[in-house]
């Protein structure tokens, strides 16, 4: 019965999204009596979708093996947390999560959004419902998560062992919150196009959703990168794999959107461009989903691959993105460009950043889709770091340089001579760092440039606070400062890792030692160990940093049995100045074992930086929402005063 309850709630939610769409469209076209239906429909839809998802969680929690999805993706012997994460660690469940978050977001807009004109609001909710319908149809018609088995299974088949990791359990939902947040921005953009009202108020209404989506995407990418780093055991943190790119592309678009929506909110400029980015950002989320799910591209991460579902997503993509872009082509003419500004100004810097971000997005998109294109002509290619790193750098380097300067400029028009001093300081720091790393023995152009820019940017990011009363600086400004500083920290980690990493592949027997960078590593022995659903061979290593006190490390080569799969559990020894990364491999004969070791200076800064960027976003979001609430209170008090005066 429970599964059927979930299914029924989902059908009802889907039906409500149809109602919401039609009522919304009719209301916008002048049937005002329909308007009253739209907001309640959105709220109830959110509640019903949540019930449906909670039902699925419950079925996974009790391992109800009469439900096909549970039987194929879970197992009675799994720890509870992985039973629960099994609910979304598959195609059907993750789509249900997607639609649930989307419905909740719709409900939330309906409940709290008061800045938009009523008409734009209704158009936005109608657009939100229109996007929702496609996903409901997709789930209900082709990927029903509540499908029963004709006969209950005796035992479940388990969850992909690579996914049985606490970090990864929460990774897909994090990204999904980001994707869905962008779907809200998309609905806003479509709503504004429909009613032709692209205003600063519209930008302010849209901004928290973009900020929220952006925070989740940032966290998702950071966590995903760290997961790939420690779980896949290959020692790298970014592979330019299609699935990684699928999360990076919406982030790039959202970053550009975030900055252009700020210009629209404070200066009423960049109207068409902001709408365009709103459409593109969500397009990138859907494109990513398509690439991951359809199996048209080969990836190390892709799971739940199915061409039939790919077709369904492609059709959805065609309707939504094609529809929005057509609407954009038809309507964008009638949106005037808004305020003008000089090149040397805060807006000018933001536009430059937008153009560079879009160029990087274009490069990543091209590199990701290129294999798809050539395969149509039967040529198999794989595009990797040799393309992405240098080509991306062509646009990343100038973007980072302008990013260091932009926040120091005034709105509308300014002169570079006004900020001569800070410019000279930043430039001097970069030259000094460049000299220093060359002396230290790194001759990798990109990495050295990266280190110099990172240090320069780190200093520059705090300059906007110069000469201000720190207690009175708005939270949103703090957010910007910290996010920019976070990017500098991450860049420092990336560049340092690529400039100074040391690697050692050794085959040694128990009692022998090897060295990597400042570390001395001794293999004490190898023994079998067993876990709840795996067995493993575990190496006992003692590692000492520059002859100091040795620490014990236990890398494992694990064997999971449901489903059968081998994974290597790398171990990391973290110091403030970097990480030792150890992986144990196969027996190499004569009692020797393969051991792979890396010393990666400052590699952790990559993820600390990512977290700082997200923290900056969070501060900005809190600041914006707080200002908004304050403004709303002031408005209400004014209204009350006026009413009293009239009485």
């Amino acid at each position: 019965m429970i599964a059927e309850l979930g299914l029924a709630a989902l059908w009802l939610a889907g039906a409500l999204s149809v109602l919401q769409l039609f009522a919304g469209v009719l209301a916008v076209r002048g049937h005002e009596d329909m308007a009253a239906l739209v907001r309640p429909a959105a709220v109830v839809q959110g509640v019903l979708a949540s019930i449906s998802f909670l039902t699925l969680l419950y079925l996974f929690a009790i391992t109800d093996l009469s439900v096909k999805l549970v039987a194929t993706h879970s197992h009675s012997a799994k720890p509870l947390i992985f039973k629960l994460s099994g609910a979304w660690g598959n195609h059907e469940g993750s789509m249900l999560l997607w639609v649930t978050v989307m419905a909740l977001a719709g409900g939330l807009i309906a409940l709290i959004e008061r800045r938009l004109s009523e008409k734009t609001m209704l158009a936005t909710l109608a657009a939100q419902a229109f996007v929702g319908i496609g996903f409901y149809a997709f789930i209900l018609l082709s990927s029903n998560p509540f499908e029963r088995l004709p006969m209950p299974a005796a035992e479940g088949q388990g969850l992909n062992p690579l996914l049985q990791d606490i970090g990864l359990a929460f990774h897909p939902p994090t990204l999904y919150f980001g994707y869905v947040g962008l779907s809200v921005a998309f609905s806003f953009a479509v709503g504004a196009l429909l009613t032709r009202s692209v205003t600063p108020d519209f930008a302010r209404a849209m901004r928290p959703w973009i900020l929220g989506a952006w925070i989740f995407l940032t966290l998702g990418i950071t966590a995903g990168s760290y997961w790939a780093y420690y779980e896949l055991g290959w020692g790298g943190w970014w592979f330019w794999d299609p699935v990684e790119n699928a999360s990076l592309m919406p982030w790039l678009a959202a970053t550009a959107l975030l900055h252009s929506v700020s210009v629209l909110a404070s200066r009423d400029a960049l109207r068409t461009w902001t709408i365009m980015l709103g459409v593109v950002a969500f397009s990138m989320s859907m494109l990513g989903t398509f690439l991951v799910r359809s199996g048209v591209l080969t990836s190390v991460h892709a799971f739940a691959v199915d061409p039939e579902r790919g077709t369904f997503i492609l059709i959805l993509l065609g309707i939504y993105i094609g529809g929005a872009l057509t609407l954009f082509g038809l309507r964008a003419n009638s949106i005037s460009e808004g305020e003008r500004f000089k090149v040397t100004s805060r807006e000018g810097a933001l536009v430059f950043n937008n153009v560079m971000l879009s160029a990087i997005l274009g490069i990543v998109l091209l590199g990701t889709l290129y294999p798809l294109l050539t395969e149509a002509f039967d040529v198999r290619v794989s595009v990797g770091p040799p393309y992405f790193n240098p080509v991306g750098a062509i646009f990343t380097v100038p973007m980072l340089l302008v990013m260091a300067v932009g926040p120091l400029l005034r709105w509308r028009q300014d002169k570079l001579s006004r900020i001569q001093m800070p410019l000279a300081v930043i430039f001097a720091i970069m030259i000094a760092v460049l000299g220093l790393v060359v002396v230290l023995g790194s001759y990798s152009l990109l990495a050295d440039l990266g280190l110099a820019i990172a240090v320069g940017l780190a200093v520059a990011s705090f300059l906007p606070l110069r000469g201000r009363n720190l207690l009175r600086v708005p939270l949103a400004t703090w957010g910007m400062v910290i996010a920019h500083f976070g990017l500098a920290v991450a860049l420092f980690g990336m560049a340092s890792e690529s400039a100074f990493t040391k690697e050692r592949l050794a085959a040694i027997s128990a009692g022998q030692s090897t060295e990597v960078g400042p570390w001395q590593v001794t293999l004490e022995g190898v023994q079998p160990v067993a876990g709840p659903n795996w067995t493993a061979l575990e190496g006992q290593l003692s590692a000492s940093y520059e002859g100091g006190e040795p620490i014990m490390l236990n890398p494992q080569a694990r064997n999971f049995w449901a489903p059968p799969q081998e994974t290597s559990e790398s171990v990391l020894a973290t110091r403030w100045n970097g990480q030792l990364y150890a992986v144990i491999g196969n027996e190499a004969g004569q009692g020797r074992w393969q051991l792979r070791l890396w010393w990666k200076p400052f590699v952790t800064f990559i993820w600390y930086g990512g977290l700082l960027v997200a923290l900056g976003g969070l501060l900005a979001l809190i600041g914006r929402v707080a200002t908004d609430l304050k403004r709303r209170r002031v408005m209400r008090r004014k209204e009350l005063h006026q009413e009293e005066a009239v009485a």
């Binding site: 197992h75 077709t311 872009l325 057509t326 082509g329 798809l372 149509a376 061979l537 059968p564 196969n586």
Partner: protein, 176 residues
């Protein structure tokens, strides 16, 4: 259509849709045969995993009679599910030898007591050397070995009712 650039995104997007749609209709070759099929077993000599069955060596699998080689373990839940089907295979005349992965003799004995013992020999593979040597990545897995010690078929995962006739047919083929 004063501003042509407004239509560029749509044009690019439609191009992408065309290529993606074409790619989706292309068949994908997903079947990956084990690289060990058709090759002889590696040399090994495993001690007995339990008190009442002898251990397993390569020579035991080259005595002229085709056999099933079942990779399993007492800590493996799907192995419980496949136990009755292995028993049916044995009753149908298949000779089954086992390789117990990273197991303790008392656990092996307890498992065989509880779920039946279809094996004529069981070797203990503590370091997974046989498992890795014959291209198996997990438990349970079942291999068909012909009388000369060559791997002719690999079944990944637990043996289910529907797999029994398939395995029997493969055994017959291997014997001919």
């Amino acid at each position: 259509m004063k501003k042509l650039w407004l239509w560029i995104p749509l044009g690019l997007f439609l191009m992408f849709c065309g290529v993606a749609a074409y790619q989706l209709t292309q068949p994908k070759d997903e079947f990956i045969p084990s690289t060990m099929i058709g090759k002889p077993l590696p040399q090994f000599d495993l001690r007995a995993a339990s008190g009442d069955r002898p251990g397993l060596t390569t020579a035991d699998l080259a005595d002229g009679k085709p056999k099933l080689l079942n990779i399993w373990a007492s800590w493996c839940v799907p192995c419980i599910a496949e136990a009755p089907h292995l028993e049916r295979l044995r009753q149908s005349g298949a000779e089954i030898v086992g390789v117990a992965i990273r197991d303790r003799p008392e656990d092996v004995a307890r498992f065989l007591d509880q779920y039946g013992n279809p094996y004529t020999r069981i070797g203990a593979d503590d370091l997974s050397e046989v498992q890795l040597g014959i291209g198996s990545s997990g438990v349970p897995e079942t291999f068909v070995i012909d009388g000369k010690g060559t791997i002719v078929y690999q079944h990944i995962g637990d043996v289910r009712a529907s797999d029994v006739p398939v395995l029997l047919a493969k055994l017959r083929e291997a014997g001919a």
